[in-house]
Amino acid sequence: MTAAPKARLSILPATSHIGVMAEAPTIAAQVIPFLDDATPPMPAGFF
């Protein structure tokens, strides 16, 4: 995956419906790159 995908799916571990609200920092760290169209990082050493 080298381009920003059209959709993203994130499943938070050990997290209930209300527990999601306590995960704002984790969620923000995932959502901000999505909102900013950041492409996923490409690790070195593969291609």
């Binding site: 059209k6 799916l9 419906h17 209300i18 999601v20 609200m21 969620i27 923000a28 959502v31």
Partner: protein, 280 residues
């Protein structure tokens, strides 16, 4: 499922209701979650505490309360944050601060909630979506990214379906595109809720603190029960027609099923890009 003291009591007496309450979102309930030892912000921090602009918009026969964090005149795409049932814009403070550093953030108190006050008639996602779009228009915002939690997530989907040219990207957190996206036991528990079961809970306390109609909490309970008993469904075709990118976020012990969230994400991934209409 995280256990909250009030819910532990409910769980013994009303197990179905306890499950439903645990799955409904409440700012004050969130405040009951033990903070990590290194937490810098108090759990009760409110979104409006740092708001640059607060007010209300006369839309669709209502005075909808809003708060704007940051500068709408900046060139950054605004982010609209939509709260869940029994919450308010203030309750979404944890989702305002991290984003407001890089873009303007708008919160709304949905009809029947927070400072917007007493609900008139039944709630619907279509109606709340239209409300949100009207607030954006009143602020001169042509298009915004939208982040919605729970009830706000379903409202965000309705916004993107009904007003695709007004929504940029959407982030659906623990929200459903159809009523059957919820675990049946949760809906069954919600159906058993009564206002008395909320007596003394942070949910009721926050409502009374914020609402211009503090005695109308039973009306909100009735409205939430009604919307969570009323079938709705955005089809796969409607989800695939949403032009903006979508992010779906779910807890692995959520009230929305994993299969439903995965299906919504798959539809969004299969969406075909199409030109947007110019929004004037």
């Amino acid at each position: 499922m995280i256990a909250f003291p009030p819910l532990q009591i409910f769980r013994r007496r009303h197990p179905g209701v306890a499950a439903a309450l645990a799955l409904l979102a409440s700012a004050a309930v969130v405040a009951a979650v033990p903070e990590p030892a290194n937490a810098q912000q108090p759990a009760t921090a409110t979104a409006s505490a740092s708001a640059a602009k607060t007010g209300y918009a006369e839309v669709n026969g209502l005075r909808l309360d809003y708060a704007v964090h940051g500068d709408l005149a900046s060139k950054q795409t605004p982010l609209l944050v939509l709260h869940g049932a029994f919450m308010s814009g203030e309750a979404m403070a944890p989702f305002v601060t991290p984003f407001a550093a890089s873009r303007p953030v708008i919160t709304i108190d949905a009809r029947g909630h927070g400072r917007t006050g007493k609900v008139r008639g039944a709630l619907s996602y279509d109606q709340m979506a239209d409300d949100a779009v009207a607030v954006l228009a009143s602020l001169g915002i042509k298009r915004a990214d939208v982040l919605g939690y729970s009830m706000g997530g379903s409202t965000a989907i309705a916004m993107a379906v009904r007003h695709p040219d007004r929504v940029g990207k959407q982030v659906i957190i623990s929200g459903a595109a159809s009523l059957d996206g919820w675990i049946p036991e949760v809906l069954a528990g919600i159906a058993q809720m009564t206002p008395e079961m909320f007596a003394g809970t942070p949910m009721e306390t926050e409502y009374k603190r914020l609402s211009p109609t503090p005695d109308a909490f039973p009306d909100l309970v009735a409205a939430i029960k009604h919307i969570d008993a009323t079938p709705f469904a955005f089809s796969d075709a409607q989800l695939r027609a949403i032009p903006g990118r979508t992010m779906v976020i779910l807890g692995d012990a959520d009230g929305v099923t994993f299969d439903h969230a995965s299906s919504c994400s798959s539809c969004a991934a299969a969406a075909t890009s199409r030109p947007r209409r110019r929004v004037s």
